[in-house]
Amino acid sequence: MTAALPPARSHQATGPRRWATDPLVPVLLLAPAGGLAAAQAPALTWAVLGGLAGYTLSGSV
């Protein structure tokens, strides 16, 4: 009688790495950066706006 094989596990990042690379992280960083930049460094705000616009196309090719 053969022993039952354990179910295959899909490969997942674990722990801090999984949280740090969550797809939401760039938006969570860029969104407040846009507000801060608008108050402190208006020119940089445009770079942040560009970053937000570019990242919203995630998954589009």
Binding site: S10, H11, Q12, A13, R17, R18, A20, T21, D22, P23, L24, V25, P26, V27, L28, L30, A31, G34, G35, A37, A38, A39, P42, A43, L44, T45, W46, A47, V48, L49, G50, G51, L52, A53, G54, Y55, T56, L57, S58, G59, S60, V61
Partner: protein, 167 residues
């Protein structure tokens, strides 16, 4: 090289939009800023599902043979074409909001270039974070689940930042 291509493509689009923005300079700033606000709000409403309308786009994608001829050159070209935003599916309103803002805000050319570089950088963030995750299939699944939040939050943040900049 793919990331380099993305940023270079974004830079080119920013430059083109910045040069074209001169055509709108004679319009009163109140009109231009009002149009930016209207487009930004419409974009946000579209992402939330409150309004529905198709986004104008070139529905051609970068052909796969670009990558098959020469991998290094192909990756750069593929990234460049994606970075321009011209030959890609545009699934979010945010790039249009950015384009209209660059065209109508009456800013100097280096601002448009910064916006373009940021756009390329934002596009590059996707493959970079995906690669950094070390588990791309899992990351793709999580992206699919979060994409609506990403587009709504992205557009919302753009509306807020533009309001702070232009009002």
């Amino acid at each position: 090289m793919f990331v380099v291509g993305l940023v270079a493509g974004g830079l080119l689009s920013g430059l083109v939009l910045g040069l074209a923005s001169g055509l709108f300079a004679p319009l009163p700033s109140a009109w231009r800023h009002g149009a930016i606000g209207l487009v930004a709000l419409l974009g946000l409403l579209r992402e939330t599902g409150a309004v529905r309308f198709p986004l104008p786009q070139n529905t051609r994608q970068v052909p796969q043979h670009v990558l098959q001829r020469n991998l290094l050159q192909g990756a750069t070209q593929f990234g460049f074409e994606l970075g321009t935003g011209v030959r890609t599916f545009v699934s979010s309103s945010a790039p249009y909001v950015l384009a209209v803002a660059v065209l109508l805000a009456g800013q100097r050319l280096h601002i448009a270039i910064l916006a373009g570089l940021g756009f390329g950088g934002g596009r590059a963030a996707t493959p970079l974070v995906r690669y950094a995750s070390g588990a791309v299939a899992d990351w793709d699944t999580r992206l699919g689940a979060r994409l609506r939040v990403i587009t709504v939050a992205g557009c919302g943040a753009m509306v807020a930042a533009l309001a702070l900049l232009l009002v």
